[in-house]
């Protein structure tokens, strides 16, 4: 059998020998066959030219794959992943920082202070400028850029500005149709989106005021008032000795000078959020001059009762004036 086994392995069996070999093999049990194999394994040199290094590497590759070790192919993949991670990680970090900053900029972009009806508020801006907002007004600014190059704000409504003096950084107000540039002043500004005119009443310092529509610029001196027609953009500058009247609201007063009676009533209605019904025929043509408090309705009614000799009747938020 050893001879036949050798010939079998070396492919030198003749067809006749094959028949004999098959017969002997079928008679042999596994243990004896193992003994035969062990001998040839241990004692023989084996032709090592039958296999190429490439083939052995390929087998090793599948061995490695089987035992869960990355072969060269897989390690290339891993390498690629690592390279990708190396590139992407800083990218992620930067984009995170960038987005965070963007986000915080967005969040801090505009700080808005606004007042509702019958609300007033005084705010102090980062540079020390004080702004008192009248009812239904709003002021917005960007805390990041404010007081960097200049001090820029957006404004709507009526406000009393006490601008902190800083000659290096202009205080700029962007309002409806207006761009107002000051360095350090005190003035009252009324630019309501719903109004037809804007008014700036300067108490101290100087203000340069430009109409965006016409592009014309005016420089105001104290006790001057600029009135802009919102439709045409034209600015008219007038001198006004009673310039502080404009900011009377701020001190809790409403100042009327030759104001038509109904216009005054309307101002009171708006200020106190009440409805006033006046039963009179010729009082419409009357004009009123005087100061009325903004925070004491009883006193207002008393003043009016005394001035016009009528009786005020309050029912809820409705006031009826009836003449005796």
């Amino acid at each position: 059998m050893n001879d036949l086994d050798y010939k079998f392995r070396k492919n030198t069996l003749s067809p006749k020998e094959l028949i004999e070999f098959r017969k002997k093999l079928s008679e042999m049990d596994d243990e004896n066959l193992e003994v035969l194999l062990r001998e040839s394994w241990n004692d023989e040199e084996h032709d090592t030219t039958l296999v190429s290094a490439e083939q052995l590497n390929r087998i090793k590759g599948s061995v490695d794959a089987n035992i869960g070790i990355e072969s060269k192919h897989i390690s290339f993949y891993k390498l690629a992943m690592r390279a990708a991670a190396a590139i992407l990680l800083p990218l992620f970090v930067f984009s995170t920082i960038y987005l965070y900053q963007q986000n915080s900029e967005i969040r801090s972009e505009d700080l808005i202070v606004s007042t509702q009806q019958h609300e007033r508020a005084t705010i102090t801006l980062p540079d020390g400028t004080k702004v008192t907002l009248n009812t239904q007004s709003s002021l917005s600014y960007n805390p990041k850029t404010y007081n960097q190059k200049n001090r820029e704000i957006y404004f709507d409504g009526e406000g009393y500005f006490q601008v902190y003096k800083n000659l290096n950084r202009s205080f700029i107000i962007n309002a409806k149709g207006l761009r107002i540039k000051v360095l350090g002043t005190v003035f009252n500004l009324s630019v309501r989106q719903i109004d037809n005119s804007a008014e700036l009443s300067l108490e101290q310092g100087s203000v340069s005021m430009r109409s965006i529509q016409t592009g014309k610029e005016f420089v105001l001196k104290p006790n001057q008032k600029a009135i802009m027609n919102q439709q045409t953009g034209n600015i008219k500058v007038v001198s006004d000795e009673s310039i502080v009247d404009a900011s009377a609201w701020k001190r809790g007063d409403m100042v009327f000078r030759n104001t038509r009676f109904l216009s005054m009533i309307k101002t009171i209605e708006e200020n106190y959020n009440i409805t006033i019904i006046v039963n009179c025929e010729n009082c419409e043509r009357d004009s009123f001059t005087g100061t009325i408090p903004t925070n004491d309705l009883n006193e207002v009614l008393e003043i009016l009762e005394r001035s016009y000799r009528f009786k005020a009747n309050i029912e809820g938020r409705q006031v009826t004036f009836s003449f005796n």
Partner: protein, 211 residues
């Protein structure tokens, strides 16, 4: 490979047991070639020999911690491989293709040993020939020679009479043998042509030189 105690191998075994891949790779380098060449003697087919090598080395890695051999892994490799080798031994020896291959070698090897087909190539040619046989013959040959069923079993399986199975089988095998022989004849004829052409050229050249 020598039987001397190899200090280097002892270290490698020690490292392997601790899980060193480097040692495993080195051991693969030392033994894979030998194992492959040994196995291919029984499988005759390179694909099956590759499978044995792969299987053995995977097993060695997986049971690396339990390795008792201290000096050499030669015997361990055999223990890991023996069942696969014995199976391959019996299966190849009794295989139809091997039988054909022996016939083929008997004709070819004596004179043209250098041009003979390797077993793999021969095997695929035989399978090609089998595929060209009528369907029933293909089936009967496959069941009889590759799955080692008896004629009776095949008859039952294919709902044929035993006699038909016998007839189909002998017919199929005869056609197969003829066709396989035809393959050799073509090849041998080609070789003869090649040589005669070569001699013709040489002859003419020699003549020219003599003149």
């Amino acid at each position: 490979m020598s039987h001397e105690i190899n200090i280097n191998e002892q270290i490698l075994i020690y490292e392997l047991k601790k899980g060193s891949l480097k040692a495993f790779n080195e051991i693969y380098r030392m033994y894979s070639k030998r194992l492959y060449n040994y196995s291919v003697q029984f499988t005759k087919s390179s694909v099956e020999a590759e499978e044995i090598v792969q299987d053995v080395f995977v097993k060695i890695w997986q049971s690396r911690e339990k390795i008792l051999q201290k000096e050499t892994l030669r015997s361990l490799l055999f223990i890991m491989a023996k069942h696969l080798l014995i199976n391959a031994y019996r299966s190849t020896a009794n295989h139809l293709v091997y039988e054909e291959y022996v016939d083929y070698l008997d004709v070819v090897s004596t004179e043209n040993a250098h041009v003979r087909m390797e077993y793999d190539e021969f095997e695929s040619k035989v399978y090609k020939v089998i595929k060209e046989l009528p369907h029933t013959q293909q089936e009967v040959i496959a069941l009889s020679r590759f799955q080692n069923l008896t004629n009776k079993e095949i008859a039952q399986k294919l709902s044929l009479s035993e006699q038909t199975v016998k007839n189909q089988l002998s017919l199929g095998l005869k056609t197969l043998k003829d066709k396989v022989k035809y393959l050799w004849i073509i090849m041998i004829a080609f070789i003869f042509n090649y040589f005669s052409f070569l001699f013709f050229i040489l002859g003419t050249l020699a003549q020219k030189h003599c003149l």
